[in-house]
Symmetry: C2
Subunit: 395 residues, 2 copies
């Protein structure tokens, strides 16, 4: 049995990974905070990544996808303040220039660098400032926290998480940094995440582990149903621990890191006051379960009710109904935590104040049992508050 323990250090927790950040005034020329960061493996590394499925992909996503194909990626350059999205040909040129400047700093080939940008859409990158910023980066073994902080947009806290895994063959580590906040959807909205590990994993194994883990973590989260043009999760593995863990051991540890970061992203969603796990069970298919869970989680009316601490099960049943899945009202049960709100499609006997007490908590679970099959799916979501609207009124 392996032993997974939470440790400090974020992306620098695994051996041989350096990180650093600096400020170069990307948003409006004033250097008031760090806004550019790098994560770098001192040793050659394998890489895997998943990108937004949005048909509108930002330039850094397109360039990173092409660099990923070239392989041997050892560094990630990240910036906040400007998403380099909807910027056409010059956007692609600028993303490539960011990779080239980073490669020159770290003595790599440009294709060994992946690029992540987040921030305003449709505005050209200020390349003079960015190039100077990249040249000023100085990655170290303790730079994870400042890198995590530099990519924050409307995030209220820097997100990092790492684990150490003891196996009979030795110890390896996995660590990550992430940013989220607005626009978080099952298909990964303006969400950037860099995960590093010193486990020795082959390229194909790394790719399949990442795909599986993202399905269990970042693709489970939905705050407002929007999906951004820049979403990226990158995993670098440099093998410096000398440990090649069993796939199941590596996957469990990777899930631990990705799920922790995903939960941080949900909890830090814009204006969020409640964290809600929505599970649909007893569905005919997993696809049905997922469709219904996402319909509930993305219903503005359901989310507004939660913001008010109202366990409004009518709106939940309504959302299940319009999701179009196979269901029968008279078979459907709804639970808040372990208390039944609905049995067989009508109000259960649980006294309303007890349900209201659950819906008023900071975190609770809603389960809908369709009782028509055996498939299930859950998502993590939030309420929708007046503050969310205020934060998104525009710039």
């Amino acid at each position: 049995m392996s032993d997974i323990k939470k440790i400090k250090g974020g992306v620098c927790a695994p051996e041989g990974f350096l990180a650093g950040a600096t400020g170069c005034g990307i948003k409006n020329g004033e250097v008031t905070r760090d806004d550019i960061a790098v994560v770098f493996s001192e040793a050659p590394s394998h890489s895997a990544a998943t990108f937004t499925t949005n048909n509108v992909k930002a330039a850094p996503v397109l360039v990173s996808a092409s660099h990923l194909k070239a392989g041997r990626n050892r560094a990630v350059i990240l910036n906040s303040g400007n998403a380099n999205a909807c910027t056409g040909q010059s956007g692609l040129k600028n993303a490539k220039a960011m990779a080239a400047a980073t490669a020159s700093l770290l003595d790599l080939k440009p294709t060994e660098v992946l690029i992540c940008s987040t921030g305003r859409i449709g505005v050209p990158l200020p390349m003079d400032r960015i190039t100077k910023g990249i040249a000023a980066l100085y990655p170290t073994r303790t730079g994870s926290k400042s890198a995590a902080a530099s990519i924050m947009t409307s995030d209220t806290f820097a997100k990092e998480f790492a684990v150490e895994v003891k196996t009979p063959d030795g110890t390896f580590r996995i660590g990550g940094i992430a940013k989220g906040a607005g626009m978080i959807d099952p298909n990964m909205a303006t969400m950037l995440c860099v995960v590093t590990t010193d486990a020795a994993i082959s390229q194909p194994a790394l790719r399949s582990s990442l795909r599986r883990s993202v399905a269990n973590s970042f693709n489970r989260i939905t705050i407002d149903g929007d999906m951004s043009t820049n979403d990226t999760v990158i995993l670098l593995a440099n093998g410096l621990s000398g440990v090649t863990p069993a796939v199941s051991v590596f996957d469990a540890a990777l899930d631990e890191v990705n799920r922790a970061l995903a939960r941080m992203i949900v909890s830090d969603g814009e204006g969020v006051s409640r964290f809600v796990e929505v599970e649909v069970t007893g569905a005919a298919t997993e696809k049905d379960a997922r469709t219904a869970a996402e319909a509930i989680a993305n219903s503005t009316l359901v989310k507004c009710a939660w913001a008010g601490g109202d366990p409004n099960w009518g709106r939940i049943l309504d959302a299940v109904g319009y999701s179009g899945i196979k269901m029968k009202e008279s078979k459907t049960d709804i639970y808040y935590d372990n208390l039944a709100a609905v049995k067989n499609g009508v109000a259960a006997t649980t006294p309303f104040p007890k349900l209201r007490a659950i819906a008023a908590k900071k975190a609770f679970k809603v389960r809908v049992d369709l009782n028509v099959g055996k498939a299930s799916y859950y998502v993590w979501t939030t309420d929708l508050t007046e503050e969310y609207v205020r934060l998104n009124l525009g710039e």
Copy 2:
């Protein structure tokens, strides 16, 4: 050529239709407002109706659908304060009892009565009060406005509209009442509408005219993407004008009434500060155009930007991208009214303050030209304000 003129009188504008309302304290026993209404044709009439496509259908919808099949429907009984939804077998019994009480008042068969309910979900109807209320109804030729007012929930004004159509063969009229507000979606959310006409139209023609017109009106509107369990549009035709208009003439007049009522519903959506027409043109298929238009109209981020008067085209392009339709970023143009915000996927030359001035108006149009085909579709929608959230925090 026919001549369509707006007239007063709502559902009572056509010959032979009576309406009335009274208060019976449905919500909590206190009679503070009218909450039950009837619309009745003195002469035998044909009928057509469209109902919610939600898999969870309220009892009045199920009973009305069955009465519709029986045909010869001459009256509609409507109530606010309680939706009689998610109420199981007793809900069906109560909906039938409402029809029976109305039939006894008007000397009809119970199946000649259709039923519409709106209000809270999951609470049994207070049948003693409702039965007394129905017995107290006294429909007259001037009762349309009070009927329209009695079915309001979070609506801020009573909605009625009527037209008179002069044809070479004589004059006929179409009139309607409606309620909307929260939970309005393309598939008709808590939206009730009763339309009457004294045109002489066969049952099959009536049905096809209604289906076509609903697709051009109520199914174009989307406020929060939720779809209710009770949505109903009913059309009664008693032929008393003696005029059988050409289908195109009748359809044009019916559209006039339904589109006017639909626009009232959107403008009166909960917490709405802007009315926005979203049109997608140059799409490969009408289905693509509709999918993209609805993705934009239901994006909480786009709607929040509009609330702030921000013409945030990045969020619009983002929504088009994740809608999954056939599109190419570098071919996509976006317009606010007639000013280009985006050309070929990147910012157009229109100065930002000019776009901002449009997005700050009470009503404006957003058009996305995909430039990949010839199909188009539009929807009517609104912004998403802090007040919307406040109104939906729960009871």
